[in-house]
Structure formats: C-alpha cells, structure tokens
C-alpha cells in the first residue's frame, strides 16, 4: 500500500490536470474577491442590496470561500476524478500498473488516497488564497485583521474537502466505468451541472413536495446544505439549510465510500482489454 501511494504521488505531483486545477482555484478565488471588493466599494446608486464589504474581511473568510468552493470545486473535482481514472485507460498505463507487484485493490486504494490528498491540497489552496485576499482587503480598508477560531477553520476545510471528494468520487467511478477520460468528464459535468439540478427540482415539485426527501439524498443538495451551514450575520439574513449538517456529512461520506467501492469492484472484476 505504501509503495502504491508513493508511486501514485510521484506520478500525480506534476500531473498537468492537478496543477491547472490548483491554478484555476487560486485565480478564481482572487478574481471573486477582487470583483466583490470593487462592487462593495463602488455600489450602484439605485441598488438597495449592495455587497457588504464586511464579508471580505479575514474573520469571514471561511464563510466566504465556502461559496467559491461550492461553485467551482464540485465541477473541478468531477473533472479531476474523471481525468485521473479515465486517462489510465487512454494512455494504456492501467496494464503497466497492474502487472507490477501490488494487486488491483491495493493499486486502487493507493490511487484513491493520493487523489483525496490532491483534493485536500486544492481545499488548502482555496483557503490560503481566500485568507490572503481577505488580508489584502482588510489592509487596504484599514480594518483590523482578526481570524476565525482555528476549530472553525478546520471544520470549514474539512467540509469543503468532503464536498470535493464526494464529487471527485463521481468522476473516478465514471472514469473506471467508461474507461475513457473525455467521455467520463463530459458525462460527469452534465450530471453535476444539469441532470442532478433538474432532477432534484422535478422531484421536489411532485405532489406538493411529498418526495422532497428523495431530492435531499443527492450529492449537490447535501453539499449545498453543508456549505450553507457556514454563514454569519455579515452575509445578511438567510434561511436555515433544508438538510441538517450531520445528515449532509453522512450522505456525502456514504456517496464517497459507495462510489469508491463500486469502482473498486469494477476494476477488480473486469478484464483489462
């Protein structure tokens, strides 16, 4: 297992897909902070619901990057998962990896561990760039720099990471199922960005919301609820999440574990043709 993790780390540390994703997350976080800072300091004359600059200060950065993580991270994690699993088939590296010493499940376990670590780094980059951006805003606005509690930061980081790995598992499973990165990536994105959203809306609309509980079992709904639980009065009044935080954590963890096990089964049983 250690050997597999070492090999996976060696091959993924310079993988363009990972490096580009980290760059996109960092750039997008900077971009969002910059745009919102501009809007907060240049409000439109007739706009009563202006952006509060209080949300951009360091004490709110955890709550702030949650939104960016939800918007960007879900899709990015699906893409990364599909690329990491699917390209092994496109490049013919599956047969190279599976004919070395470790068995198939050990190989898969190592890949999942390193992939999850990679998404952890992506969450760290999101938080680090968000924190740095908030410091810059606070410094320019002559606002005191105060940070959220360390536990709150850790909880936020864990929540974003959980959302990333649950979505990443969708990409991984599709990559193994379809054995092609481009097709897996396309299907994964369509599912996360369109099919699930429309499906949940349809289910919620049935019989005056009698089947809303089914809609509440989808990844996106639970990710949304989990990240929404990180808020504060600085963001204005908001409705409580439709799904309890504990339930959201449980559902996302089950998705991650379930999809990884299903993909492991496919990898274990299918021929490498």
């Amino acid at each position: 297992m250690i050997a597999t993790i070492r090999a996976e780390w060696r091959k993924n540390q310079f993988r363009p897909a990972f490096l580009v994703s980290l760059g996109v997350v960092a750039a997008s976080t900077l971009f969002v902070y910059g745009i919102v800072w501009y809007l907060a300091t240049h409000p439109s004359p007739g706009n009563q619901q202006g952006v509060s600059i209080l949300t951009l200060y360091p004490d709110q950065f955890v709550n702030y990057v949650m939104g960016i993580g939800l918007l960007l991270g879900e899709a990015m994690a699906v893409v990364l998962g599909a690329v990491v699993a699917g390209s092994e088939y496109s490049w013919g590296t599956t047969k190279t990896m599976l004919t070395q010493r470790p068995g198939r499940l050990t190989n898969w376990s190592g890949r999942v561990v390193v992939f999850a670590a990679g998404l952890g780094i992506m969450a760290l980059v999101l938080f680090a760039v968000g924190a740095a951006s908030s410091v810059v805003v606070a410094a320019f606005e002559h606002h005191a720099i105060t940070w959220p509690a360390a536990l709150y930061i850790a909880e936020g980081l864990a929540a974003v990471w959980l959302v990333f790995i649950a979505n990443g598992a969708i990409g991984l499973a599709l990559g193994v199922l379809i054995r092609h990165s481009a097709a897996a990536l396309g299907i994964g994105l369509i599912y996360v960005l369109a099919v699930e959203v429309l499906g949940v809306r349809f289910i919620d609309s049935l019989n005056n919301g009698a089947y809303k509980w089914i809609g509440n079992l989808f990844v996106g709904q639970n990710a949304n609820a989990l990240l929404q639980s990180f808020t504060s009065p600085a963001f204005g009044p908001s409705a409580p999440p439709a799904i309890a935080t504990n339930q959201a954590v449980l559902v996302l963890a089950v998705y991650f574990a379930g999809l990884i096990v299903v993909a492991a089964g496919l990898l274990r049983l299918r021929d490498v043709t």
Binding site: A7, T94, G103
Partner: protein, 304 residues
C-alpha cells in the same frame, strides 16, 4: 534441480470467450521451460496477446488453468517475478522516461538505483530526461522493455516488441532482446518477425484461431533437412538415388528430385551420379524456413 526443470509457464485447456461470444483462445496447453527463449507465433487475431494477458492476470480465463512463475496469474507473488511489455508501452506522457520508470520501480518495490541500471542497459540514459510523449516509437519501446526489466525478472514476457519500429529500430531491438535472452532468464516473446524468432528462440508455440497448433523446438518444427537434385537423364538418376536412399526417401517431381537425407551426403550423391553417367546440373541443400512452416500451420498465406 526439480525446480530448474519445472516449466515456468504451464497452461492446461486455457480458454477465453469474450462477452460477445467470440472465442479468442481455445483450450491452449502451453509449456515454457525455465531458462529458454520461447517464441509465441501466430497471425493477427490468433489469440497471442489475449493469452499473454491471461498469463499476467490482466484478463481472466473463461476456463482452464495456468501457472506462471509458480503462482496463479495476477498473484502479487507471481507478478514480482515477471516483467512484461504487452500491447506496446503504456506510460505517462507528461513524465520523463526516467520518472516513468521511477513510478514503476515504486510500484514494484524496486530500488531507484535500478532505474539508472536499466536505462544504461537499454542505452537511454542520455535521453531519459525527455518527456515520454516526445519519444519516437523505438524509444518508447525501449522504455517499455526497461520497465519490464526493472524487477530483474525470472520471466520476461514481450508482446510484439518490434511492432511499429523502422528497420534500424528493429535491428536495435533485436540486439537488445538477444542480450536479454542470454543467461538464466526465461523469455517469452510473441513476434511477427519469423526470421528473428528462428534465430533467437529455443522453442516455439504456434497459435492459430485461438488454438495452439504446434509447440516444439525450432529444429523439430523445421523438420528433416533434404537435398535438391536436378540431373539428366532423370530415369537413370532415379535408379541411382533410389538405390542409395531407398524409394521412400526419393521424391521425383517436375524434373527434379527431393531427397530426404542430410545435406552432408551431397558429395557422395554427386560422385555416384557422375560415376553412373548422370549429368548433375543442380545440387543443393533444402531447408524449410520458419515462415514456410508458419504459413503451413496457420493457413495464412499472406502472413501478418
């Protein structure tokens, strides 16, 4: 001693039927002995690659059994003793040749020092820092062979290692395989290059339509040598030759004779015919090439 004589690869009734119903490999009984270079021959689609993939556990057999390096195919303990290059080299295009080998070395639990050793062996040290995606077909194939050698394997399985190479690349690969094949290591090689197989392999297995149609030493496969004679008058020549070798060893057709005898008899044949007043216009040894035998066994006139 018993271990040395035991086959390193042994299959009994090994078969593979794919989901579509296509029977790719049909009851193959194959035996590769330790220390030999075994050529696995067959036309395209005969089942060579499928068989090799079953031996390393990439494909599961539908029926039959196989033992490879003392273990079931795909068993980690067995894989530790096997190096293979199957269906071309599969590596990460964004990593250098050296980094790709380091990934494989990590997986195989092999020292990173061994990476430099095999790079030296395949003469790729100076080009090992380039990205794999920028390599020529020949260089990619060399990295594939290097990866197969990382474990210093007891059994080396090479599937069409010269596929896609230009003549120079083929010559380089041929030399490399010949070097690798020396010593205690067993080499199982599938190839279309029958001349090379004939020159380098101790034994061969010929597969056609999923069935192993012949397995023997190269010498046995090529059969008895003979002598070709063209002489006049042919009636008198027939009498002399029949007297010398018996009627069963003399085949008279189209004005010439094919004699089932050792070419070393050529001088005696010439002397007897001349002494009997027969004029000899042509006398030469007859040797079947592996290509002739291959086409005869597989029924593939075009080759592949």
């Amino acid at each position: 001693m018993a271990m040395e004589n035991a086959p390193i690869v042994e299959t009994h009734g090994l078969s593979k039927r794919f989901g579509s119903g296509f029977l790719a490999v049909d009851g193959v009984d194959m035996s590769v002995r330790r220390g030999e270079v075994y050529g696995f021959l067959g036309p395209n689609g005969a089942g060579k690659t499928t068989t090799l993939k079953m031996l390393v556990g990439l494909i599961g057999a539908t029926s039959g059994t196989a033992t490879v390096a003392g273990h079931a195919p795909g068993d980690p303990a067995g894989l530790a003793k096997i190096g293979c290059l199957i269906e071309g080299p599969g590596f990460y295009p964004y990593l250098s040749g050296r980094e790709n080998l380091r990934v494989v070395a990590d997986l195989a639990s092999v020292s990173q020092r061994r990476v430099d050793e095999v790079l030296d062996l395949i003469e790729m040290t100076s080009r090992a820092g380039r990205k794999f995606g920028t390599y020529s077909t020949g260089m990619k194939m060399r990295i594939g062979v290097a990866a197969a050698l990382l474990k210093d394997p007891e059994l080396l399985i090479l599937d069409e290692p010269t596929a896609g190479l230009d003549p120079q690349g083929m010559a380089e690969m041929r030399k490399l395989i010949t070097d690798i094949g020396h010593g205690e290591r067993t080499v199982l090689i599938s190839s279309h290059l029958l001349g090379e197989v004939q020159a380098t392999c101790d034994r061969v297995g010929v597969i056609s339509n999923g069935k192993l149609v012949r397995e023997s030493t190269v010498e046995d496969l090529l059969g008895d040598e003979g002598v070709f004679v063209r002489a006049e008058p042919s009636e008198r020549a027939n009498e002399v030759l029949t007297r010398m070798f018996g009627p069963a060893a003399v085949v008279h057709e189209n004005g010439h004779f094919n004699l089932k005898t050792n070419p070393a008899q050529s001088l005696a044949i010439n002397r007897q015919l001349m002494a009997s007043g027969v004029a000899v216009s042509e006398l030469r040894p007859v040797e079947r090439s592996l290509e002739d035998v291959f086409f005869q066994l597989t029924g593939d006139k075009q080759g592949s």
